[in-house]
C-alpha cells in the first residue's frame, strides 16, 4: 500500500449528500477480477451521457458537461469534497479503488458510511470528517477561486489552504500510523499469531461445534 503523508491538490466539490457506492462505481464494472483500471468509470452514470460497459474505451464516450468532475477547472483533482453519509450502500472496495485510480486520495465530508470509511484506509485513501460549517467553508472556497488547492498534512493533522485558515482533523492513531507508513494490515495481524492460536484453543474447548 502507498503511504500517505502529505498531499497538495485541486479540490473538487461534489455537492450531494448520501453519495452511495453504486454511484461511485456502478455494478457493471465490478465484474473485473483486478484492482486497477476503474478510474475511467468513477461516477460513470454521472460523468457520461451513455451507459458505460466494461472493456469499453471511455475516452470516446459522450461526457456530461454538467457534472462537476468534468468541469475543466477541476481537472487533475486529488481531493474530493462532499456531503454527509458519503460512501453509503454496498461494501464494494471497487469504490475506493476507483477513486484512487482516478487520482483522488483524500475525501472530505461531514460523515462517512462505516464500511466505505474502513475500506479507504486499506487502500491508502484518507477520509477526513469535518464539521458541517467547515465543509460549507471549503465548498465556498472551491467556488470562489479557480484552481483552489488544499494541502493535507496527515502527520500534523491539518488541512491548509482554506480562506478561513488551517483546519485541524483527527484520525484514530492506529489507522493514522498504518496510513503514514503504508503498512499492510495482514502483516501486522500475523505478528499476533500466538494470541490467535491461544484464543482458538480456548474457544475450541468452550464451543467445539465451531471447529470441524
Amino acid at each position: 500500500m502507498q503511504a500517505f503523508t502529505q498531499l497538495t491538490g485541486i479540490t473538487v466539490p461534489l455537492d450531494r449528500a448520501n453519495v452511495d457506492t453504486d454511484m461511485i462505481i456502478p455494478k457493471q464494472f465490478l465484474k473485473s477480477i483486478k484492482r486497477s483500471g476503474f478510474g475511467p468509470n468513477l461516477f460513470d452514470q454521472l460523468r457520461y451521457l451513455d451507459e458505460g460497459q466494461p472493456d469499453q474505451d471511455s475516452s470516446k464516450r459522450p461526457i456530461n458537461p454538467d457534472f462537476v468532475l468534468n468541469f475543466p477547472r477541476y481537472k487533475g483533482a486529488k481531493i474530493l469534497l462532499s456531503r454527509g453519509n458519503f460512501g453509503c450502500g454496498s461494501s464494494r472496495e471497487h469504490a475506493p479503488w476507483a477513486l484512487l485510480d482516478f487520482g483522488i486520495s483524500c475525501v472530505i465530508a461531514p460523515s462517512f458510511a462505516d464500511i466505505f470509511y474502513n475500506n479507504c484506509f486499506k487502500n491508502g485513501i484518507l477520509p477526513i470528517t469535518l464539521l458541517d460549517e467547515q465543509v460549507d467553508q471549503l465548498f465556498a472556497d472551491t467556488q470562489a477561486k479557480e484552481g483552489f488547492e488544499l494541502t493535507i498534512d496527515l502527520d500534523a493533522g491539518v488541512i491548509c489552504g482554506s480562506s478561513a485558515g488551517d483546519i485541524a482533523f483527527s484520525i484514530d492513531s492506529f489507522r493514522r500510523h498504518c496510513l503514514l507508513h503504508g503498512l499492510d494490515d495482514i502483516g501486522l495481524t500475523l505478528e499476533h499469531t500466538a494470541s490467535i492460536k491461544s484464543y482458538e484453543q480456548k474457544r475450541q474447548k468452550q464451543a467445539p461445534w465451531l471447529f470441524n
Binding site: N18, D22, L30, K34, S111, D172, S173, L190, E200, W209
Partner: protein
C-alpha cells in the same frame, strides 16, 4: 455495573486482543464468499505467498452474476453470455478448488444467494461471528450472530488470519412493541424503521431489534429485517436467540448434532441482552401503527405508507434534504402530491437476499393465486433465493400458481436486485421490487425502483400499479 447487550456478549466472546488505542482483533467463525468481492483477495494471498488460516470456516457460492433462465443455467458457466461475468464465476470456482474451499457451484442444488444459503445450511449459527464481502451480511444477525459486511482487503485479511481489525460499535436498540396489523410483514417493519432512523442514523452502531414484534416474528422475517440494517447505516443488525431460533437451526446440514448440539443449545441460552443492559441509543416504534410501505425516492429512507402522496420538497425545511428530494423526484419521474397508488409499473421483481425465501414466495403466491398479471406490465419475475428454496416452492406447487398468473419462474441468484446479470430494468421503467436498494441505476441504467414487501409486489403485479394489499381482492 450494567448488564451486557447481546452485541457486547458476542464481541467479548470473539475478542482475541485489544491494542492500547482501542483497535481490536476479532476472531471470525464463518466466512462466506461470492464471486464479486473475492478474486482480488485470493490474488493478494497468492502474491504474498499466504495460505488460508482455517479452510473449514469458508463457504462459497456464486450468486451475483449467474443467469436465471433455465436454458442458460442448463449450460453451466458456459451459459453465462457476458464474458466478463463468466470469468468472474470461473475465477471463484478456480480459487475454491485451488485453496480447497467448499463451494456450491452453479449447478449444485444448494447454490443460491449467499445470505439465503448460509442460514439454510446451518452454516451460520447463533453466537458466531459471520463475515462476507457483501454489505447484506447483516442478514445472519437474525440467528443471534455478530454478522457484517467487509471489503475485499478484509476478505483477504480474514482468509489469511481468521481475524479482523475492528473497533467496537455503539449499541442501539430498535424496539417495536405491540402487534402488527393484518397483512403487515417484516419488510414493512424494516422500511418503516429506516423511514424513522434514516439511512445514516445507524452509522457507528450495532442495532439489536427487540420487542414483541420481533419475538413473534419468524426467522425468515427476522432475516429480512436484519438484512436491511445496513440501509439504516448500521453494519450489524441482530435479534436475540429464542426457541424460534433454535427450532430453525436444528437438523440443518452444517448444524451441530448429538452431544455437540446439546452443548451448543445450552450455550445459546445466554444470547440475549441482559435485562439491565444499557443502550447508547433507543428507538421505539408501535407495531400497530405500521402500514404497508412503498419507497418513492432514490434512498431507502424515502419511504411512505402506500395510501400516502409523493411528498413536496417545498414543505421540507432542511435545505440539503429538500434538494435531495427534488433530485429524487426528477430521477423517479414523479410529481409532488401524486398518490403512490397512481404510480404505474413496468416490471415487478420478487427476489433478492431480502425476500426470496420460502415464506416470501408463499406470501406472494397467496396474493396472485387465481389472478392475472396486469397487461400493462412488461415483466414480473419470481426468483427463488436458492436451489433448495426453488425445490421447496415447486414441491408446494407455488411455481404453478406464479406461472398460471403470468409471472416468470426463474433459477436462483441475485437477478434483478442489482442487474449484474441479464435481468435489468430499462431506462425510466418503474419496478416494484422486494430487494433492498432503490439507488439510482441500481436495477439498471435509469431504472426506477420502489421497494416493497413480497405481498405488496404481488398485488402490484396484478393491478399494474401500487395497491394496499390489505384491501386487495
Amino acid at each position: 455495573m450494567a448488564g451486557k447487550t447481546l452485541y457486547d456478549k458476542l464481541w467479548d466472546a470473539h475478542l482475541v486482543n485489544q491494542q492500547d488505542d482501542g483497535s481490536c482483533l476479532i476472531y471470525i467463525d464463518r466466512h462466506l464468499l461470492h464471486e464479486v468481492t473475492s478474486p482480488q483477495a485470493f490474488e493478494g494471498l497468492r502474491i504474498a505467498g499466504r495460505k488460508p488460516w482455517r479452510i473449514d470456516t469458508n463457504l462459497a457460492t456464486p450468486d451475483h452474476n449467474v443467469p436465471t433462465t433455465l436454458d442458460e443455467r442448463a449450460m453451466g458457466v458456459n451459459g453465462i453470455e457476458d464474458t466478463v461475468s463468466k470469468i468472474q464465476v470461473i475465477t471463484l470456482d478456480d480459487n475454491c478448488d485451488e485453496f480447497g474451499i467448499t463451494e456450491f457451484k452453479m449447478q449444485d442444488e444448494r447454490q443460491g444467494i449467499v445470505h439465503v444459503v448460509g442460514p439454510e445450511q446451518g452454516a451460520t449459527l447463533p453466537g458466531m461471528t459471520v463475515v462476507c464481502g457483501d454489505s447484506h451480511t447483516a442478514t445472519h444477525g437474525a440467528m443471534g450472530a455478530l454478522a457484517h459486511g467487509i471489503g475485499t482487503s478484509e476478505v483477504e485479511h480474514v482468509l489469511a488470519t481468521q481475524c479482523l481489525i475492528q473497533k467496537k460499535s455503539q449499541n442501539m436498540l430498535v424496539r417495536v412493541d405491540g402487534d402488527l396489523g393484518e397483512g403487515i410483514t417484516s419488510k414493512d417493519v424494516v422500511l418503516a424503521i429506516i423511514g424513522v432512523v434514516g439511512t445514516a442514523g445507524g452509522t457507528g452502531y450495532a442495532i439489536e431489534f427487540g420487542g414483541k414484534v420481533f419475538e413473534d416474528m419468524s426467522m425468515e422475517g427476522r432475516m429480512t429485517v436484519c438484512n436491511m440494517a445496513i440501509e439504516a447505516g448500521a453494519r450489524v443488525g441482530m435479534v436475540a436467540v429464542d426457541q424460534t431460533t433454535i427450532d430453525y437451526v436444528e437438523g440443518r446440514p452444517f448444524s451441530p448434532k448429538g452431544a455437540s448440539w446439546d452443548l451448543a443449545v445450552a450455550a445459546w441460552q445466554d444470547l440475549h441482552s441482559d435485562a439491565d443492559a444499557e443502550f447508547d441509543h433507543v428507538v421505539v416504534l408501535d407495531g400497530a401503527s405500521i402500514a404497508p410501505q412503498v419507497t418513492w425516492g432514490t434512498s431507502p429512507e424515502m419511504v411512505l405508507p402506500v395510501f400516502d402522496m409523493v411528498p413536496d420538497p417545498a414543505q421540507e425545511k432542511d435545505n440539503s434534504k429538500a434538494s435531495s428530494m427534488v433530485r429524487a423526484l426528477e430521477y423517479m419521474g414523479l410529481t409532488a402530491g401524486q398518490a403512490i397508488t397512481d404510480i404505474q409499473l413496468d416490471r415487478v421483481f420478487i427476489g433478492s437476499c431480502t425476500n426470496s425465501r420460502i415464506e416470501d414466495l408463499r406470501a406472494a403466491a397467496a396474493v396472485v393465486d387465481g389472478h392475472q398479471v396486469a397487461k400493462t406490465l412488461k415483466q414480473a419475475l419470481v426468483v427463488p433465493g436458492s436451489g433448495l428454496v426453488k425445490a421447496q416452492a415447486e414441491a408446494e406447487g407455488l411455481h404453478t400458481i406464479f406461472i398460471n398468473a403470468g409471472l416468470e419462474w426463474r433459477e436462483p441468484g441475485c437477478s434483478m436486485c442489482l442487474a449484474m446479470n441479464a435481468d435489468k430494468l430499462g431506462s425510466s421503467e418503474h419496478c416494484a421490487s422486494t430487494s433492498n436498494r432503490n439507488f439510482e441505476g441500481r436495477q439498471g441504467f435509469g431504472g426506477r425502483t420502489h421497494l416493497v414487501s413480497p405481498a405488496m409486489a404481488a398485488a402490484a403485479a396484478i393491478a399494474g400499479h401500487f395497491v394496499d394489499v390489505r384491501t386487495f381482492n
